[in-house]
């Protein structure tokens, strides 16, 4: 194949296809637009979670004021605020970490490897932290509801606890699974691209090694998030059964 001719043909393409060139003012408009990329999707999940967590902290603060004379509920509120503060810090760190990964200025290979490693490891922690918010949202909301309706926490019986806890667990699991499904296709796409890129060096092996290392580092975080989830449930039981006082 005549390589010179190929390059010459290539250089004529701009004239052949009707390309509407954009002016700098159009480009400026694009710059104020919103991205549709997966990176934006992940960022949106984290930012939304930060906002919801902050709102739950405020709501728990309001609960604290409303139930100021009820020691057990104020204890639940303070514990909830402290746990959420920790989770807010954790998610903020996740966002900073993700922003570094999502920089398209890296080489294609590095971009694909870092994004795939993130989606297969740290993204699960992010989703877990997002799902936990649901539990605290429920606690904060139900305390407001009880105050408005009964002006106190109504003790629940065993059946109530099972039903409510069941719904919360379902909510957490559904939230986690729904978000996982959303990125399943993206993971497949990244794996396909890395396979296309493979030559002598096995990029997928590097990804596997990265995932293994990340998983080891993530174990502590997973453990801590598990503890937060457990304490959250205990607080919930405390609210329902009104047993902490």
């Amino acid at each position: 194949m005549n390589e010179k001719k190929l390059k010459e043909m290539w250089n004529k393409t701009e004239n052949l296809f009707e390309i509407s060139g954009y002016g700098s003012s159009d480009i400026e408009q694009f710059l104020s637009g919103r991205s549709k990329s997966t990176a934006r999707g992940v960022r949106k999940i984290i930012i939304m979670d930060l906002i919801v967590k902050a709102l739950v902290v405020v709501t728990l603060g309001v609960d604290f004021i409303l139930y100021y004379d009820t020691t057990n509920v104020t204890f639940v509120c303070i514990a909830g605020i402290l746990l959420l503060a920790g989770l807010l810090f954790f998610q903020r760190r996740m966002l900073v970490h993700f922003n570094k990964i999502a920089d398209h200025g890296q080489t294609t290979r590095d971009t694909l490897i870092s994004m795939l490693t993130y989606l297969k490891t740290k993204f699960n922690l992010t989703l877990l932290a997002v799902s936990i918010t649901y539990l605290f949202l429920f606690i904060a909301g139900i305390l407001i509801y009880f105050y408005l309706v009964y002006e106190k926490v109504r003790p629940f019986d065993g059946t109530d606890i099972v039903v409510f806890a069941g719904f919360i667990v379902l909510g957490i699991v559904f939230n986690f699974v729904a978000n996982k499904v959303l990125i399943k296709y993206q993971i497949k796409h990244l794996e396909l691209c890395l396979n296309d890129m493979n030559m002598n060096e096995d990029a997928m092996t590097i990804v596997s090694q990265n995932i293994e290392t990340q998983k080891k580092q993530n174990r502590t975080n997973q453990f801590l998030l598990g503890i937060v989830l457990l304490i959250g449930f205990l607080l919930l039981v405390g609210v329902f059964k009104n047993v902490l006082g």
Partner: protein
């Protein structure tokens, strides 16, 4: 390394001058005009977002290819089929160009558009007269891998163009 203070107006003017390469990328990665415009905007946005991290040690042009190609490669296709490139036939042709030439160029585009996402990036950089070093620095492949891959891609392209003829 100090981060650059991005100036939207200057940056837009810079993009306006270099938009040809973004158009070429959108042409080979996406098959219909609406999706192409979406990808063009997405690339502009990603370039703007990555601009504060741009380091002078790499050429602006090389950096631009890197961001634009990474955006195109990461862009998930709406349809799972490969790009049929049928819509290319609807493009206005410039009368000054001889018809045979136009047909050859269309064939080249059709063939390139049938390559996988990574091969498209490599051949595009080669067609844009980038050196093996530059292709390696954009894709992250080693220079020898670039060389081997390019050989295979060119052979594949040749076969596709010959089959079409």
């Amino acid at each position: 390394m100090k981060k650059q203070k991005p100036n939207r107006k200057t940056f837009s003017e810079l993009l306006e001058k270099n938009q040809g390469l973004i158009h070429k990328i959108t042409l080979i990665y996406v098959d219909n005009p609406a999706d192409r415009e979406d990808l063009f905007q997405e690339i502009c946005l990603q370039l703007w977002k990555s601009y504060p991290n741009f380091r002078e040690e790499s050429k602006f042009n090389t950096w631009m290819y890197r961001v634009a190609l990474n955006t195109a490669v990461s862009n998930i296709r709406k349809t799972k089929n490969s790009f049929a490139f049928e819509s290319m036939g609807n493009y206005k042709q410039i009368p000054a160009e001889p018809a045979d030439d136009n047909e050859d160029i269309l064939q080249l585009y059709r063939a390139v558009s049938k390559l996988n996402l990574i091969d498209k990036a490599i051949i595009l950089l080669w067609l844009e007269e980038k050196s093996y070093d530059e292709i390696a620095s954009v894709t992250g492949l080693t220079k020898s891998n670039v060389s081997v891959k390019l050989m295979r891609i060119k052979r594949k392209l040749e076969e596709m163009i010959n089959d079409a003829n």
